[in-house]
């Protein structure tokens, strides 16, 4: 590849003066390399390499870019870097610990709840958020919670089954829970 300067030189002068914005990302304090107005989705993916969070529509309609912001599921394409300043972010990359999958990830795997799997990250993040708030969701509540996530391949019944399996698994696990680090409420 050609030997040219990295992308950082496009940053505005004022931004560099103000210093980078920090956030707690998947349990670690990290500095954004992007301008404050940059979409949080782009900053996570291109700036920090957390490409598990996907672009699907850029209008908050498909849920592929869902992350947890201070424990709440948000569409990262609708947020900017400045919205995340000083906050805690969990992305799909933050759920696996020491080779141990989060029960929701495990349930998606067990149920084969994907086809092309491009929506899977967003589905898993939305499902984790649901189960943190409501450990025993009814089918209707799962459907309600995932209504904003699009799966174009039509894997919906397996996704619902995976969330139900995860709920049962998390119920059985220890009282301190299996939630990801840094996803705090």
């Amino acid at each position: 590849m050609a030997n040219t300067p990295s992308g950082r030189d496009a940053r505005g002068f004022e931004d560099q003066m103000a210093g980078p914005i920090h956030a707690q990302i998947n349990g670690k304090s990290r500095a954004f390399a992007s301008e404050p107005e940059t979409s949080l989705l782009f900053a996570l993916r291109e700036g920090l390499g957390l490409t598990g969070t996907k672009y699907g529509c850029g209008e908050g309609q498909c849920g592929a870019c869902t992350i947890l912001l201070n424990g709440v599921p948000r569409r990262s394409c609708q947020l900017s870097v400045s919205d995340a300043a000083g906050k805690s972010i969990v992305t799909i990359e933050g759920f696996e610990h020491n080779g141990q999958l989060h029960p929701v990830q495990q349930a998606f795997l067990d149920q084969g709840a994907f086809q092309c799997a491009y929506c899977t990250s967003g589905m898993i993040v939305s499902s984790v958020a649901l189960l943190q708030k409501n450990p025993n969701p009814s089918t209707t509540e799962i459907v309600q919670a995932l209504q904003g996530n699009i799966c174009r391949c039509g894997t919906h019944p397996r996704i619902v089954a995976a969330v139900e399996q995860a709920a049962r698994a998390m119920h059985r696990s220890t009282p301190q829970g299996t939630g990801p680090k840094g996803s705090g409420q």
Binding site: M1, G112, A117, G154
Partner: protein, 642 residues
């Protein structure tokens, strides 16, 4: 470790897994020892593309023949080593064993430091389905863990050093000619590269945001031409037949005129099908990199070798200087045959002398890709007093010839596809025109059954001698509980089915109409499917159910609206896709025919759904809907506007 090379690509249909199963099965090795290298023009053999439900019926037997020849070679190696005839040896679990002596050599030991090669014999018997051990079983998706951890890299996830982000200036409308473009302001922006090549204007910049800003400051003038709109679509299609090019000959049998004269019931109806979008969740994307006058492009396409040709022709470089690599892709559904994003990224990367990535926005994806063709279908038919079809005339304007032939027994037929100069760019789609043709045919069959006062299942069976199609209708009906008795007035039941690409499908649907809102809710779907011997029942079930869910959109509410060369609803907020709340109870009944070679299954299970729902709506309300989508705004608006 066994590495298998195939030009096929994985787009969510699970072919990476099913092809690996076939190779493991034939080579007698564990599935986990297979690594599939797919869709890379530099590494894999030429392949036309991953479409037309061809991977399972054509690539799978080819790979089996290769694996079988490889197994024979290994057997011969062991035979020479042990001076024992090969037919006294066994190949199993990645090893050759001599049962008489108990000696064992692994494939790895036999192949070590040797190149074993052989031309595939013409007739190499492969393992028949009833002796499969790894194929025919439900196995999980290969590499599944990478998808639930976000580690799998789709094309948009690739980030080489020094990457620039590309953005294209889109024309004011379809077919617009660019007259002038003032590029000065964009060029003055730091780090921005601007390319203009006739109608193509694009920028590459260090961030997506700066690329967007650079595009926004370009002032362009273009000449546009007035174009038709979706309001006039169906009359437009009838008036704009393709006159040049070869005409599709009608399929003719007997005399439709005589058949109609002899009929006791005659029916003539027109069915319309709107343009719809594939809307793959991963939009078209490409990463291009030039090195020493050689181009490498990573892109999600169903035709890596086709895109290689496209790039070679457009960039005027020999094919051997173009490499196309397809990372496992975030779906395609027939929508990713072309190399638009690949070419855009390649042009920018050449100008910038840096790698450039282009990821289409959702709006670009809706507007600048291509659509499933819209169509008008006219049917004229007749039945005799015994409820048998006596005449069948079927004309399809524009949507296509797939699935156009009727599977029913009728002595007098005339069936013809009429190509049209489409007002929108159109192309392949899951099931192609089979969805439109089945919608028209199976709705019409329902109309005839009602006219003759015969149960719709009985009417179909009375006119059907194809045993495989009868079997799927009968099993769908049995599981569904056909004929069902209504317990509420708003309830309705319908069916539809057919055969396409050697897959046999029948779908039964139950719907409910909300009396106040007029909303139609699909309550339950049963789809019976038979595609010969099943390679992976779990993957097949996922495909059959997925096809039905995707089909719900096209059946109920998806339609592209356009006017004067612009798409009016290019957003998920404006183009409704099936979501969790739309999903009914769905059951897939899979019929495993070990005696029949496997056919593809990604497409055909979609074709029975729309007519089944339309027929169920008629059953519930007495309203016959002959347009797809059936109820874009519910039944109420339809009633008041009718």
């Amino acid at each position: 470790m066994v590495t298998v090379f195939t030009g096929k690509v994985e787009v969510g249909q699970n072919t990476r897994t099913t092809l690996a199963q076939s190779v493991a099965d034939e080579l007698r090795v564990p599935l986990s020892s297979i690594r599939m290298v797919m869709g890379d023009t530099a590494l894999t053999p030429f392949d036309m593309g991953t479409f037309g439900s061809r991977s399972t019926p054509y690539m799978s037997p080819q790979l089996r023949r290769v694996a079988s020849a490889a197994r024979d070679l290994l057997l011969e190696q062991a035979s020479a080593e042990w001076k024992t005839p090969a037919d006294k040896l066994l190949a199993n679990d990645g090893k050759i064993t001599n049962p008489a002596s108990g000696a064992t050599l692994t494939y790895g030991q036999l192949a070590q430091r040797k190149t074993l090669a052989r031309e595939i014999p013409d007739a190499d018997p492969v393992t028949p389905p009833d002796q499969w051990t790894i194929a025919g079983k439900p196995v999980p998706k290969v590499d599944a863990r990478a998808f639930v951890t976000g580690q799998h890299q789709y094309t948009p996830d690739l980030r080489p050093a020094n990457l620039l982000h590309g953005k294209v200036l889109r024309p004011a409308s379809f077919g617009a000619t660019l007259v002038s473009a003032d590029l000065a302001a964009a060029k003055a922006m730091p780090g921005v590269v601007v390319v203009r090549d006739e109608n193509f204007v694009a920028v590459a910049a260090p961030t997506e945001r700066s690329a967007e800003k650079a595009i926004a400051v370009i002032h362009a003038d273009s000449i546009t031409t007035p174009q038709t709109s979706s309001n006039q679509l169906y009359s437009y299609l009838k008036k704009n037949l393709e006159t040049d090019g070869e005409h599709q000959q009608p399929h003719e049998k007997g005399s439709v005129v005589n058949g109609l004269t002899a009929a006791t019931h005659r029916l003539e109806q027109t069915y319309n099908v709107a343009y719809i979008a594939h809307a793959p969740l991963e939009p078209r994307a490409a990463l291009a990199e030039w090195k020493d006058e050689k181009l490498t492009v990573w892109t999600g396409t169903q035709r890596p070798f086709g895109v290689q040709e496209e790039l070679s022709a457009a960039l005027h470089i020999p094919k051997d200087r173009v490499r196309v690599i397809v990372p496992d892709t975030g779906s395609a559904y027939g929508g990713k045959h072309t190399g638009d994003a690949a070419l855009e990224a390649a042009r920018l990367a050449r100008a910038a002398n840096r790698p450039v990535k282009i990821v289409w926005t959702r709006e670009e994806e809706f507007a600048w890709a291509y659509f499933r063709p819209a169509g008008v279908i006219e049917i004229k038919s007749g039945i005799s007093s015994d409820g048998k079809l006596s005449a069948w005339e079927f004309h399809n304007y524009n949507s296509g010839a797939s699935g156009i032939q009727t599977p029913y027994d009728v002595a007098n037929q005339r069936i013809q596809f009429h190509p049209v100069n489409s007002p929108l760019r159109q192309g392949s789609y899951r099931g192609l025109a089979a969805t439109a043709n089945h919608f028209a045919r199976e709705s019409h069959m329902d109309e005839l059954a009602h006219a003759a006062q015969i149960d719709p299942l009985e009417f179909r069976l009375r006119n059907l001698s194809d045993a495989r199609l009868r079997a799927v209708f009968e099993s769908a009906a049995k599981t569904f509980g056909w004929p069902r008795r209504k317990i509420q007035t708003s309830q309705g039941f319908g069916m539809g089915g057919g055969v396409e690409k050697n897959g046999y499908v029948a779908t039964c649907a139950e719907i409910a109409v909300d009396q106040n809102s007029g909303d139609v809710r699909v309550v339950r779907i049963v789809t019976a499917f038979e595609c010969g011997a099943i390679v992976n029942p779990d993957g097949l079930r996922n495909q059959v159910i997925g096809a039905n869910i995707m089909g719900l959109g096209g059946a109920l509410f998806e339609a592209i609206e356009f006017e004067n060369g612009r798409i009016l609803n290019p957003r998920f907020a404006q183009y409704r896709l099936p979501r969790f709340r739309d999903i009914p109870e769905i059951e897939a009944v899979l019929i495993d025919r070990k005696d029949i070679p496997p056919a593809g299954a990604g497409e055909t299970p979609i074709v029975g759904l729309a007519p089944a729902i339309g027929n169920a709506i008629f059953d519930a309300t007495g309203i016959r809907l002959r347009n797809l989508p059936l109820v874009p705004r519910g039944l109420k608006s339809l009633k008041t506007s009718a």
